[in-house]
């Protein structure tokens, strides 16, 4: 509340009617504005919104209350008391105090209240209007004795006779109608603007006391005051909006810009490919680790994901069972597959989740220019960050999804992942494997039984011995006994050679059979692994596609918001400038160079890395899915977008608050830069635009300028005021809380009993 503090720094003086003179300090008076009569909702809202916008930081929002009362029935005492009740509570004072306002009501004296009754006379008869205003006056008057003293100001809009009599407590009593003092037709917008100007001056300045000062000592005879008002207003709302939207643009644009070049795309592709490969290699290694704990020697090559070894341990119970298969082998296999599958689901899910978390973090890293704080993959951390943009992140995610979809989990010849992973499928697979193993085993046994046993060798060789002996004897004339021995030796040798050869081929066959059996079981185990890894991969790929979709959506939304912010900037600028067209009575001042300075200052002071990291973190956690598990439930984009926008809004608001300083934007200073208002022309402009709406050739009139603190005003513009040829002689200055606003209020005073209104 810098502006409030600034206001608080103003020295206070005693401000009762007897000692008041121009230049005294204005104390904040809680104000109730009642919209009554034929006031349309649209007009009432227009007045309320515009006045509130203009009140600025020096008037706390809860110091002004608005209400619409249409009829006498609505103007009951209870209702009015209820409307004023918040002002009479201690919480109100404490709220003001907490808001930094020191000119709070004193607890030692009655509370000052200001009630402004805005009454639209259109289509209301005089009798109705009089009755309504008198009833309201009565109801309000009763409240004065209940712990508050209230000033009752009346502003009547519209044509028509209205006489409240001499006893009325409404003071001052302003009137506006649709024809100016000089006889010009006033447009509706002008009437509303004058109304707003007047209400702002009533709330924020010593206008009433200045009027009192001007009409003394004939105050009792003053009837209606036909009023006109104009204002030079620094467009604080517009400028703040300009700064705010510009900061928004500066923050958001880096996120959504960046049309990626081919080189950057290539870099991202390579990194994503490596990262996806690393992810899959880690997942496979994790799966191999898990399998190793369940009786397997399992190894794989990290780069190619090729299975280099996958064999059952010799000491494992299943090894004996598959090499000497029994009828219940399928049950054993099924149990083992199921155990393995459950373990893989449990442990692989955890480890894969960690890997996915790293991948997700790396996507955040794509957007985050602060890589040193991320404990992610070493390879990624050591890389230079890419463009901290959503385009890069989206492209990276899309590429990752593409590589995830295309790649293979396990490189092993003949391996096809199990199409489903249910227990029934595993049982069926186990049966098939058991059949295959039985078949392999049978193959060996069949071959084995076609081989002669040693006894068989003997039986087969014995009959051959006499024949061989006889044959040798036919061909030679050797000794019969020696020949017999030789034949026996030859046959034994042949038998031994054949026996050894057969045993060797049997051993080879057994080796092949064991290998085939191992391969059968291995393929099934790898099938289980591949099924889970593929399922996980497909899930991750799906999540990545959803991420990419969400990121694209987010980028579109941010781009749309960015475009909207640029449009708002243009709209803000369009509102200011010289209002020489039409009958507008408000000149909106603005200093866009100052605003740009504010934006530059904000961006220069902003820890943009923190901002982008913050956004990246939200994107990573919400849009990308930050629960570590690639589940279908992760990521709720609608909420995420809201989180992101909230975060951006928080940053924008924080930065705007840090740089936007209304006390620097004083109306006089800004008016000095506007050529139509330079060199004192502002007084002339204000005077001309503040021509009263209504009135006649009355003898009394006044012109009051409501501006900033006279003390500061004297030092800065005294010379200008006194020496300016455009100065309005005889005008009065009423101190205002509004440093960003200068108002001119002209009044033509109608004495009680006379009426010169325009019908």
């Amino acid at each position: 509340m810098t502006s409030a503090n600034d206001a608080m720094s103003v020295p206070t003086t005693e401000t009762n009617m007897d000692t008041w003179k121009p230049g005294n300090v204005h104390h904040l008076v809680p104000t109730l504005v009642l919209m009554c009569g034929a006031m349309t909702v649209k007009d009432a809202i227009s007045i309320q919104v515009n006045v509130q916008e203009r009140l600025g930081p020096n008037v706390p929002a809860n110091a002004v209350r608005w209400e619409r009362i249409k009829s006498v029935e609505d103007a009951s005492e209870e209702r009015i008391e209820g409307l004023l009740a918040p002002f009479l509570k201690l919480e109100y004072v404490e709220d003001l105090s907490a808001g930094g306002f020191l000119d709070i009501p004193s607890r030692e004296q009655l509370l000052d209240l200001q009630i402004i009754v805005v009454y639209n006379l259109k289509d209301q008869g005089e009798a109705v209007a009089s009755l309504f205003l008198q009833s309201l006056e009565t109801a309000l008057g009763k409240l004065v004795s209940k712990g508050a003293k209230a000033s009752l100001t009346l502003l009547v809009i519209g044509e028509g006779e209205l006489d409240l009599g001499q006893q009325t407590t409404y003071w001052p009593r302003f009137r506006l109608q649709s024809r100016t003092y000089s006889g010009l037709e006033a447009e509706r917008e002008r009437i509303l603007e004058v109304c707003q100007n007047l209400i702002v001056a009533l709330i924020t300045s010593e206008l009433i006391r200045a009027i009192d000062y001007k009409v003394e000592p004939d105050k009792e005879s003053v009837g209606w005051i036909w009023i006109g008002a104009s204002a030079l207003v620094v467009n604080l709302v517009g400028m703040r909006e300009f700064v705010r939207q510009s900061i928004f643009h500066e923050l958001v644009h880096p996120l959504i810009k960046a049309e990626l070049t081919a080189d950057v795309c290539h870099q991202i592709e390579v990194r994503m490919q490596n990262q996806v490969q690393a992810l899959q290699a880690k997942n496979l290694a994790s799966a191999m680790d898990i399998v190793s704990n369940y009786g397997w020697f399992a190894e794989s090559e990290e780069g190619t994901r090729r299975i280099t070894q996958m064999d059952l341990r010799p000491e494992d119970e299943l090894t004996v069972k598959i090499f000497e298969p029994e009828s219940n082998l399928s049950v054993d296999l099924s149990e083992r597959y199921e155990i393995l599958r459950r373990s893989l689901i449990k442990h692989l899910g955890e480890r894969a989740g960690e890997e996915f978390e790293k991948l997700r973090a790396s996507f955040a890293f794509r957007m985050d220019p602060r890589p040193e704080d991320y404990d992610i993959l070493d390879s990624v951390r050591l890389e230079k960050p890419l463009l901290p943009g959503l385009a890069a992140a989206t492209f990276a995610v899309e590429k990752a999804a593409e590589y995830m979809t295309k790649s293979r989990d396990i490189n092993y010849p003949g391996l096809s992942p199990h199409p489903v992973g249910s227990g029934y499928y595993l049982a069926a697979t186990a049966k098939l494997d058991a059949n295959a193993i039985h078949g392999e085993y049978r193959r060996y046994r069949r071959y084995e039984r076609t081989v002669l046993s040693p006894q068989g060798f003997f039986l087969k060789l014995v009959p051959a011995w006499p024949f061989l002996t006889a044959m040798i004897l036919v061909l030679t004339d050797w000794d019969r006994i020696l020949t017999g021995l030789l034949a026996a030796l030859l046959l034994s040798g042949l038998g031994i050679v054949q026996f050894i050869g057969l045993r060797h081929s049997l051993a080879n066959l057994w080796k092949r059979v064991r290998s085939d059996i191992q391969k059968t079981v291995r393929l099934s185990v790898l099938g289980v692994m591949a099924n889970l890894l593929r399922g996980y991969r497909i899930l991750v790929a799906g999540q990545l596609r959803e991420m990419a979709f969400n990121l694209r959506n987010l980028r579109s939304l941010l781009a749309w918001e960015d475009a909207k912010s640029l449009r708002r900037i243009a709209e803000s600028k369009a509102k200011s400038g010289a209002p020489f067209k039409g009958q507008t009575t408000v000149y909106w001042l603005a200093d866009w160079d100052k605003c740009r300075d504010y934006v530059q200052k904000a961006i220069a002071s902003a820890p943009l890395r923190d901002f982008h990291s913050s956004i990246a973190e939200i994107v990573a956690k919400s849009v990308v899915g930050g629960d570590g598990q690639p589940t279908a439930e992760s990521g709720k984009p609608e909420q995420s977008y809201q989180f992101i926008f909230n975060e951006i809004e928080r940053w924008v608001e924080q930065l705007t608050q840090g740089v936007f300083y209304p006390p620097e934007l004083k109306a006089h200073a800004l008016a000095g830069k506007e050529s139509p208002l330079k060199d004192g022309r502002r007084w002339k402009w204000l005077y001309e635009k503040a021509e009263p709406l209504g009135g006649g050739a009355f003898s009394k009139s006044f012109t009051i300028f409501a501006g900033e603190n006279p003390a500061a005003y004297e030092t800065t513009t005294a010379a200008l005021v006194k020496e300016s040829p455009y100065w309005v002689p005889g005008c009065q200055i009423a101190m205002s809380r509004q440093q960003h606003e200068i108002s001119c209020i002209q009044g033509v005073i109608e004495d009680i009993g006379e009426h010169h209104g325009v019908d």
Binding site: V451, G456, L459, K460, L461, P463, A464, F467
Partner: protein, 239 residues
């Protein structure tokens, strides 16, 4: 069991028990002519016949023993697979049959060859004439024949004529024993020839027995499985 029986017979032959088997050729005596003729090769057939009988008897006995013991003998001896399925090593599995076949083929070849040689050298005619003429006076023909074939005898062909089964013709007295007309004799001893024939028969029987055993075992298995099956009773629909 066919082969085991055969092996036992072979072992008996190797041990020399074949001498106990009658193997003399049958002699036919012509009444009123005082002539007795040994039927050529009939000793072979006689010995083969008795050996075959012995083998068959042995086979029958062993088969009965096996039948009573329900294959356990073969299984305990580690011969069950060998007797039913063993085909490897082929060289060992068939070596006896191959050698027997070789011997028989070679013997037959030589027999035919020698027979042809005898025809060519006229011995066979001499023998035939001698056989027909009986007592030819003068000996001129025998003298001529001796002149032609005598050199062959000196070249080591005695072996072919020394077989008692072949020497079916009594020595012609008028030639003084110098020439002994005879049929060609086998190259190997007659007991080997018998064993060779028996080998072929035993091998054939062994193969038939193998097939029988195989089919029989399948039937047994089928019966055993059928007994193991639970009877499935489908309840009536109640209509």
């Amino acid at each position: 069991m066919a082969w085991i029986s055969f092996v036992i017979v072979v072992l008996a032959f190797v041990l020399g028990l074949d001498r106990l088997i009658p193997h003399q050729p049958f002699t036919v005596t012509v009444p009123f002519l005082w002539i007795s003729i040994n039927i050529p090769y009939s000793g072979y057939f006689r010995m083969f016949f008795y050996t075959l009988i012995i083998w068959l008897v042995l086979w029958w006995i062993l088969s009965r023993l096996e039948e009573r013991s329900g294959f356990t003998l073969l299984w305990k001896a580690g011969l069950r697979n060998g007797m039913m399925f063993a085909t490897r090593p082929r060289a060992i599995n068939n070596i006896a049959v191959v050698l027997a076949s070789i011997i028989l083929i070679f013997t037959a070849f030589r027999f035919v060859f020698d027979f042809a040689m005898q025809i060519l050298t006229g011995r066979f005619f001499g023998y035939l004439i001698g056989l027909i003429t009986g007592n030819v006076r003068g000996g001129s023909l025998d003298y001529v024949l001796n002149l032609i074939a005598g050199d062959l005898r000196s070249r080591g062909l005695e072996f072919w004529f020394s077989d008692p089964n072949v020497s079916v013709i009594p020595v012609l007295p008028f030639l003084g024993g110098r020439i002994q007309p005879s049929l060609p004799a086998p190259i190997v001893p007659f007991n080997i020839i018998v064993l060779c024939f028996l080998t072929l028969i035993a091998a054939f029987a062994f193969r038939r027995e193998q097939r029988w055993r195989y089919e029989n075992e399948i039937k047994r298995n089928q019966i055993r499985r059928k007994h193991r099956q639970d009877e499935i009773i489908i309840p009536s629909s109640g209509k």
